[in-house]
């Protein structure tokens, strides 16, 4: 493919649109709550307690937020490692989405950490406990965020015309792209490992030695789904042509990954002898919802014609995203029962508004970046 075909350009247009302003307002609300959280402590803003030290700020902002951020991972994997050039138009928007997903997940950790002022201890080798899964996740996510900045840097450099540096960066970019594929593989599976070590506190419907595999699969699945979803939404809202030929191929991959996930889930339950838990085990209802979402999402993609229909793609991507979200929420919060209790946890309104604010910030920044920086590939008359 010639480089001409993949020229990127800013979308332009007004920045202060209604969606942007709504997002900005939600961010402001979150900012006020965060001011309270940092001046009066965690209890003033959240329902976090000793039984549930991880609430939605970890389960949604970090665990699910970083899965949203896997768009860059899967597209880089496809485009550069498997050398499938046809996915190239999707790289920059995907990397941008990942950058926000991961950057804000990192910020959310600082919100959730009780003693956030010690966060840099993670980077100091003499404080490290090298067998800790948490350390692996922490370091890996921090490194990956930096890698994403480098991966996205060409867009900046192009925009501000720093061509010399861009040319130099292009020569070593492959190192970062390789890292950008390696690191998420490591920490997305480790997110599952973290819940392996909680042992019996996690319902047998989810507790499994296979958790790292399932987390990696959902990361890949949600990465694909978010690319498809974003692409459809961008086409609709920015009135751009659909990238359906590329998306239909992605849809085929989604179908494979989602089917693999469902099959492995049931095989795992049968091998562990916990299949009966589906009927009346703890939180089994949520397992059923999770599976219904997942199976209906993949079923939509089985007829080949559907993979070319933007509505089917959108619905399927939405359902698979919802299934992935619910799977991760189930593992981190819903299926989790603290040992000595009974403990209760449901996020407070303030907690929810902070999470909403984080995602609103993500959307606002995305809108700003695609309008001001060369992220989307240029639309040529033959496409339109």
């Amino acid at each position: 493919m010639s480089s001409q075909a993949h020229e990127h350009q800013p979308l332009g247009g007004r920045v202060l649109t209604l969606p942007f302003l709504i997002c900005a307002a939600l961010v402001a609300v979150a900012g006020v709550i965060l001011f309270q959280r940092y001046t009066q402590g965690l209890a003033a803003a959240s329902n976090l307690n000793d039984g549930y030290p991880w609430g939605i700020w970890v389960a949604i902002d970090v665990v699910i937020g970083s899965a949203f951020g896997c768009a860059g991972y899967v597209i880089a994997l496809l485009c550069y490692i498997l050398n499938r050039g046809e996915y190239h138009p999707l790289v920059r928007p995907a990397v941008l989405a990942s950058l926000f997903g991961y950057g804000l997940a990192g910020l959310a950790v600082l919100v959730d950490l009780g003693r956030y002022w010690n966060f840099y201890h993670m980077m100091l080798p003499w404080y490290a406990q090298p067998n800790s899964v948490m350390l692996e996740v922490g370091l890996c996510v921090a490194t990956y965020t930096l890698v994403l900045v480098v991966e996205f840097a060409p867009a900046f450099l192009e925009r501000f015309g720093i061509e010399g540096l861009r040319a130099k960066l292009n020569k070593v970019l492959w190192v970062f792209i390789a890292l950008g594929v390696l690191l998420p593989t490591m920490h997305q599976s480790s997110l599952g490992t973290m819940m392996v070590i909680v042992g019996h506190k996690l319902s047998p419907l989810w507790q499994s030695q296979m958790l790292p595999v399932f987390f990696l699969l959902t990361a890949i699945l949600m990465g694909f789904a978010i690319v498809v979803w974003e692409s459809v939404m961008a086409s609709l809202n920015f009135r751009r042509p659909m990238e359906t030929p590329v998306l239909s191929k992605l849809a085929g991959l989604m179908l494979v990954v989602a089917s693999l996930f469902v099959v492995l889930r049931f095989v795992d339950l049968i091998v562990r002898g916990q299949i009966g838990q589906i009927f009346g085990g703890p939180q089994s209802g949520w397992f059923v919802v999770e599976m219904v979402l997942m199976i209906s999402g993949l079923a939509l993609l089985i007829p080949k014609a559907n993979r070319n229909r933007s509505r089917a793609l959108f619905l399927s991507a939405s359902l698979l995203l919802a299934a992935g979200i619910l799977y991760r929420l189930n593992v981190y919060l819903i299926g989790f029962t603290p040992a000595v209790g009974p403990w209760h946890y449901f996020p407070s309104v303030k907690e929810i508004m902070v999470t909403v604010g984080v995602f609103a910030l993500e959307i606002a920044l995305y809108l700003l970046f695609v309008k001001k920086l060369p992220v989307m590939h240029a639309v040529h008359p033959e496409h339109g």
């Binding site: 039984g51 509505r311 403990w343 209760h344 449901f346 407070s348 309104v349 929810i352």
Partner: protein
């Protein structure tokens, strides 16, 4: 040799006043360790161990005359079962135990003469220890030694004693011979000897280390330790068993064994409802333990309720199953649940926000998919038209 010749019968029994002899085969280190242990039992600083050691080997050692009345000899027996190290050797050598019916080798007139000789030689200086109660009914005829009633024997011996110690509950307040119908009119030593303070070490048997600590305190400092209103040393009888009991947390949490062998009993719950008298009995059993075999070696530790052996009016008087009268904390009639709900559940506001977000997502999804549906239809019709 004719009977009654005290000077001939009383043979020299070893060079007890020499340093080596006084240590009785212990190494110097073993001896100092032992004395430091005694200091710890008394609640003194370890530095006092040296002082106690010096006092114990200084010659002449104080004479102890031990008389036994109506008793089971358990007090003396328990004294023999202490092993850190070989207590019986030490008690024979650090103090000069000149008369004890259970332990002495001599018998008959020889033993009696030796007692008289020892009393005469140490008049006004010796320690008098008794175990067993004193019968008073019918002129005290129910217990006689060498044709002398036990009552007369203790009165005689007490006259020349520097201090009087009653060992065990029988001697302290009458013990089991005095309970119920009390056919012999048994009483404790303090009811016979009125002109001298009678320090008591009650228990059935008392912990031998309490007795030993008391004696060594007397030897080391020349005076008795602090005593309570019943003349018991406070270091051993200052607190209720209930206060130091290892099962106390179960009492406070309301977990009781209800009958022998039930779930609570097997789990080591509090024995109060089985009739444990720990809440009204002063003794250090839970902290010191018996027989030097580690923690938990005392009645409650092995699963039996304390029956209050040290307390007059409790031990041998109240039934084992009877509830103790609580001297410190009374258990409430009901307890807060162990599993109290903790943490915040779903608030109405949070539920509304979550429902709002979910509703907005589904609504937006529906709108978007209908718009996409129209777009798809347009694309498909245009592509069909193009064909």
């Amino acid at each position: 040799m004719p009977d009654g010749h005290v000077d001939l019968d009383a043979e020299h029994i070893g060079d007890l006043d020499e340093y080596e002899g006084a240590l009785a085969g212990l190494s110097r280190r073993e001896f100092l360790t032992y004395c430091t242990g005694v200091a710890a039992t008394l609640g003194l600083s370890p530095a006092f161990g040296v002082k106690i050691a010096n006092a114990a080997v200084a010659a002449p050692r104080p004479t102890v005359i031990w008389l036994s009345g109506q008793a089971c000899t358990g007090c003396t027996e328990s004294l023999l079962r202490t092993h850190h190290p070989s207590l019986e050797t030490l008690i024979l050598d650090t103090i000069s135990l000149d008369y004890n019916e259970t332990l002495m080798t001599g018998s008959g007139h020889q033993a009696e003469n030796w007692k008289q000789q020892a009393m005469k030689d140490n008049w006004g200086k010796y320690l008098m220890v008794t175990d067993g109660s004193i019968p008073t009914k019918d002129g005290g005829v129910y217990c006689k030694v060498a044709s002398k009633t036990y009552k007369d024997a203790v009165l005689e011996c007490a006259k020349g004693a520097a201090a009087v110690i009653s060992m065990g509950s029988c001697s302290s307040w009458g013990g089991w011979p005095s309970t119920g119908v009390n056919p012999t009119g048994a009483v404790g030593l303090n009811e016979i000897i009125k002109d001298k303070p009678v320090v008591s070490v009650p228990g059935c048997p008392p912990n031998p280390y309490n007795f030993l600590s008391l004696v060594l305190h007397f030897v080391a400092f020349g005076k008795l330790p602090e005593l309570d209103d019943k003349m018991r040393p406070k270091f051993a009888y200052g607190r209720l068993i209930h206060e130091n009991c290892e099962r106390r947390p179960h009492f406070d949490a309301g977990r009781f064994a209800m009958e022998f062998g039930d779930y609570g009993h097997r789990q080591g719950y509090c024995l109060y409802k089985l009739g444990c008298k720990g809440p009204e009995t002063y003794a250090n059993c839970p902290s010191v333990g018996f027989n030097d075999v580690g923690q938990g070696t005392w009645p409650v530790g092995t699963g039996h309720p304390c029956f209050g052996c040290t307390e007059k009016g409790v031990g041998f008087t109240k039934g084992i199953h009877e509830l103790a009268s609580l001297k410190s904390v009374a258990p409430p009639n009901s307890y807060p649940a162990v599993a109290v709900d903790k943490g915040e559940g779903m608030s109405a506001g949070a539920a509304a926000v979550v429902a709002g977000i979910a509703g907005a997502a589904v609504g937006a999804g529906a709108v978007i998919s209908s718009r996409l549906g129209k777009q798809d239809a347009k694309t498909e019709s245009s592509s069909t038209a193009a064909e």
